[in-house]
Symmetry: C2
Subunit: 228 residues, 2 copies
DNA sequence: CGATGACTTGAGCACAGTCAAGTGCAGTGG
DNA sequence: CCACTGCACTTGACTGTGCTCAAGTCATCG
């Protein structure tokens, strides 16, 4: 299945990803022809630290987590890739090894473009290059905010923000937590025990309601935003 | 002085900055003609949050700190701009307002290129665009590491890493701290008091020597790297 | 020489991490 | 159909890191 030009998933990828939007029809075709696609089952690794980072990875369908292992062995989640998201910061600028892991959280289709192909493409399509710079810029702003929030806010506040973001992303006030508590914990730089306690605390303050173990309803969004 | 093409500082900027290296001679001239330069005294703000972010900022000579103010009012340092560094993640990809501040830490010369000029330039010079993507990629990797380290390591460990990085950057085992303790504190997400205590602690363990208030000598680099 | 700001040191406290025991649920096999 | 295993999660008790507040020292500069 992989490496077939113009197959269904490859076209999906090209259509899905913001950096490829606003490209000429011709460019779009070229991109599709360079894309290879692959399927991963829940729990499988899409790539691992130490792999040579030689491809841009696009999630065509599914969900994956990207994380690093700190020197002390602790896991730190960097981001969740949803359908349409892509990853390849490191992949595209050097021959260096990857420093992070990506793991499928459900059955997931991804597309990949080789670094060398992509760099060639950028040189011939200024549109694409500009889109790429813009996408990276947004990612940098988002990372800076994550860093700032992690360093200056309490866990409870970060958890509240996380719930608001998740709710906004799904456009629902009531939703299933898309991650295991363990994963939420590493995302927020804390432990599952603390997540559990803080969720109870937020529920006690009537800011959220715990419908079930994984089903959360937001009762007071403004209140959540003001958690210190 | 500002807005004069081909002036001395403008050429400095173009030569200094990695993203402009490996450009054709012609492109280099074009860049230089688009650059405006400005001088800031120690303590002056180069830009502030809320300003429209419409220019790429390059440090031609001097040093500046870039920081954000968290919602709870705490200051978080994002990075130090040294001679040759540039800043403009947000500046270059949208018309959005800035979310961060940049303040000169000494007398500092900066150059600026307007967002619109720069985007035009990228479309005509694929080389530049590729350089830009690569530079952003490196910044993203660095930010991800900063996030991971902040979330998973103790202050003492982060301080140790900071000292090692600073030492490596200056290529000296003995060096003046380039920042006030207050600034180091916000950089590492802590307080001046804690910095003071942890430095004493590292000195007691004979990993460093406090020659004076601001002069540090690294005694045991391997030991520092292993601080938990 | 006094004033200002940077830094240090100390005491008390709170947030959140660790460790440990227990609960609930899903999947497996008898 | 129920016991058993494994895993995610919860809850409790304890501890420690690092923050806050406050007082004191030191250095620089007018």
């Amino acid at each position: 299945m992989a490496h077939l030009a113009h197959n269904h998933t490859a076209e999906d990828c090209v259509e899905l990803v913001t950096i490829f939007q606003s490209l000429s029809k011709e460019d779009t075709k070229t991109v599709a022809s360079l894309v290879s696609d692959k399927h991963y089952q829940s729990g499988e690794y899409i790539y691992q630290a130490g792999n040579s980072a030689d491809a841009l990875t696009i999630v065509a369908h599914g969900q994956a987590k990207v994380f690093q292992i700190a020197t002390n062995g602790k896991e730190q989640m960097l981001r969740i890739l949803q359908t349409g998201d892509f990853d390849g910061e490191a992949a595209l600028f050097s021959n260096k090894d990857r420093t992070s892991f990506a793991q499928a959280l459900m059955d997931t289709d991804v597309c990949q473009i080789k670094r060398s192909d992509f760099q060639k493409l950028m040189k011939t399509s200024p549109e694409l290059a500009v889109n790429m710079v813009n996408a990276f810029g947004q990612r940098i702003v988002q990372l800076e905010q994550q860093t700032t929030e992690a360093a200056t806010s309490s866990i409870e506040s970060r958890l509240a923000s996380y719930l608001l973001e998740t709710s906004a992303g799904l456009k629902k006030e009531q939703f299933e937590l898309p991650l295991k508590k363990k994963d939420i914990a590493t995302y927020l730089g804390t432990t599952p025990e603390t997540i559990s306690r803080k969720l109870s605390s937020l529920a006690k303050d009537e800011l959220i309601e715990k419908k079930s173990n994984t089903l959360i309803k937001i009762l007071d969004a403004d209140g959540l935003a003001m958690v210190e």
